[in-house]
Symmetry: C2
Subunit: 313 residues, 2 copies
C-alpha cells in the first residue's frame, strides 16, 4: 500500500529512484498537487520525503491524516512548520553533518575568490584581455586577516577550522560562548562585525534568525568588510546588503543564498565586487548521495517502528 | 651619480616611486632599451632592480660593466641567468617568503573553485540562468580527497598546511624526504600523480624543472585528476596537459601560470573544466608592497656595502 509521498520538484533521478525502489510511493511536485492525489491514497501516507524550499505547513499536513514523519532533504528545515508538525504528532528529520564539509568548503572558496577577484581573473585570462590590458589590478590578501563566524554550530565550526589554517584571527558570535582554541567570542553580531574584515554567516534559517545580520551589522563591518553567506538568504538584511555593496560601504560579498531563489534580485548581477553561487553549498555527488541515503533511512526507520536517525523535534 | 637601473615594463607607479625616491636611477622597459642608455651612465650602474619575465642574461650583464647586484621582484628568478651572473661576480637577490601566503591561498582557491565549478556557478546566478534552467549540475567534493604537492618547498608547505585543514590525504614529491606530520613521500612525480586526485605544482621554475610534470605524470593522474599550477608554465608539459583536458583524460585544472604569458594558448579559452587566472599568485596590495620593500632593501644593502637580505647565489 502506498505510504510514502515524495514532495517537491527538485529530486534528481537518482534520488527519486532510491526512494521509489524501496517504498511504495506517490509524488507531488508542488504543494497544490497534494490535493490532487486521490483521497484513499492520501489517507495512507505515513511519511513525506521532502526536498525543496516551498513552505510545508499545516495546510499540507492536514491533508495527510496518517502522516507520521516528514523527512527533509537538507540540514536546513526552515521551510517546514515544525511547530505545526509537533502539534500533530508528526516527527521531522533532516540531514545534518553529512554536508558540513561541502558547505564549509564553499564558504572558504567564496571568501578567497572574492578576496582575489577570481571571477574577473578567469575572464581576463580566458578572453585575451590579459594580453591586451595587462595584469589584474592588485587585490587583497586573505591569509592573516580577521574573520567573524556568525553562528558557531557544526558548519560554522568547520569553516573556522579551515580558516585557522589560513592564519586568520578568528572571532565568532553565538547564543553562548563555546569551547574553542582561543577564538574571540562576541555576544552580538554588531560587535562581531566591527571587529573583523570578513563576516561569514553560518546560522540556521527561520524566523528567529531573520535579518540577524542587520543593516547596523553591515554598517559596522565597514569599507574593508566582506559578507560571506552560506546559510539562508533570510539571515541577512538583503536590501541593506545590496545598498552597502552598491555604495562601497562594504568591500564585497560571496553569496550562495538569496531571497526569492532562484529569482534573485537583479541588482546583484550588476555588482563586480561579489562572487555569486546558485545555492550549491551541498551540491556535490558525494554529499547529495549521503543526504539521499539519510533521508531514505529516516523514512525506513520510521516505517519499521525504529528510532529516527536525525530527528529535529 | 646614477647607479640603479630599473629594468622591466611591469613596475607600478608605487613600486617605481619607492625606488626612484631613494636611488639615483634610470629606467629601461625592454632589454633593447639598455643599449640606448648613454655609455657613461651605463658604466655607473651598480644595481639592477628587475621586474618581469624577459630573459636577463649575459648580453645585458655585459653592457653594465659596474653591475654588482640584480635584485629580482619575485621569488622565481628563472628569467635571470644566475650562472652568467655568478661568473661575472654579480649577486642575485629575490623576494622569498613574503609571497608564500598569497600564492598558497590562490592554489587552494583554484582547487576549490575547479572542484565546485564556481566560474560556471557565478555566471548561472548572475545571468538568470539559475531561474531558467535550475541548479548547477552536481559537482565534486574537495574535502577529504587526496592531494599531491609537487615540490614541498616553502610555498608547497604552506599549501599542504592549508589543505590539511580540509582533511585531505597529503602526498608530496621532492628531491628528498622532508619532516612532515605523516604525509606520504614519493620520490618521483608519476608515482605521486597515480596516488592522488589533485596534483598541485609548487616547483621552482628554470631548466631543471622543465616539463617535470610530464605527459606520463598527467596520464597517471587519471580521469578524476585535477592539475593546479601556481609555479611556472614551464614546469608542466602544457601540450600534454591541453590534450588531456580536451579529451577528458583528466578532469580539470586550475592554472595561474602558462607558457607564453600573457599570450596564452587559445585552446585554454574553450575549456569548461578549468579555472584560469592571469598570473596573480602574489597579486595583492599587501604582498606586492612587501616584495617592493624587499627588492628596495636588497639594493640599499648592496650600495651600503652590507650583507644582502635574500641572496640566491
Amino acid at each position: 500500500m502506498t505510504n510514502v509521498l515524495l514532495l517537491g520538484a527538485g529530486f534528481t533521478a537518482d534520488e527519486r529512484a532510491r526512494l521509489t525502489e524501496t517504498f511504495d510511493s506517490v509524488s507531488a511536485a508542488q504543494a497544490e498537487d497534494v490535493a490532487k492525489i486521490d483521497a484513499s491514497t492520501r489517507a495512507g501516507i505515513k511519511a513525506v520525503a521532502f526536498k525543496g524550499h516551498m513552505p510545508l505547513g499545516a495546510a499540507i499536513m492536514d491533508q495527510l491524516a496518517g502522516l507520521g514523519v516528514i523527512a527533509n532533504f537538507g540540514v536546513g528545515y526552515d521551510a517546514i512548520d515544525v511547530t505545526a508538525a509537533s502539534a500533530r504528532g508528526i516527527k521531522v528529520t533532516n540531514t545534518p553533518d553529512v554536508l558540513n564539509d561541502d558547505v564549509a568548503d564553499l564558504a572558504v572558496a567564496m571568501l578567497l575568490a572574492q578576496s582575489r577577484n577570481m571571477i574577473v581573473g578567469d575572464a581576463r585570462a580566458r578572453t585575451g584581455l590579459w594580453a591586451k590590458e595587462g595584469e589584474l589590478p592588485l587585490n587583497r590578501k586573505a591569509s592573516g586577516s580577521s574573520v567573524g563566524i556568525v553562528g558557531l554550530g557544526r558548519i560554522g565550526r568547520e569553516i573556522a577550522d579551515r580558516l585557522a589554517a589560513f592564519k586568520m584571527d578568528i572571532h565568532y558570535s553565538s547564543r553562548s560562548e563555546k569551547q574553542t582554541p582561543g577564538w574571540t567570542y562576541h555576544s552580538d553580531v554588531v560587535s562581531l562585525a566591527s571587529a573583523v574584515d570578513f563576516l561569514v554567516i553560518a546560522l540556521v534559517g527561520g524566523a528567529e534568525t531573520e535579518k540577524h545580520v542587520s543593516a547596523e551589522a553591515i554598517a559596522a563591518l565597514g569599507p574593508r568588510g566582506v559578507v560571506v553567506n552560506i546559510s539562508r538568504g533570510t539571515t541577512v538584511d538583503e536590501a541593506a546588503l545590496l545598498d552597502a555593496l552598491e555604495s562601497g560601504a562594504i568591500a564585497g560579498a560571496g553569496l550562495d543564498v538569496f531571497m526569492n531563489e532562484p529569482n534573485i534580485d537583479p541588482r546583484f548581477a550588476a555588482l563586480d565586487n561579489v562572487v555569486l553561487q546558485p545555492h550549491q553549498g551541498s551540491g556535490t555527488v558525494e554529499t547529495r548521495t549521503a543526504m539521499a541515503v539519510l533521508q531514505h533511512d529516516n523514512i525506513a526507520a520510521f516505517l519499521a517502528g525504529q528510532d529516527l536517525l536525525t530527528p529535529v523535534n
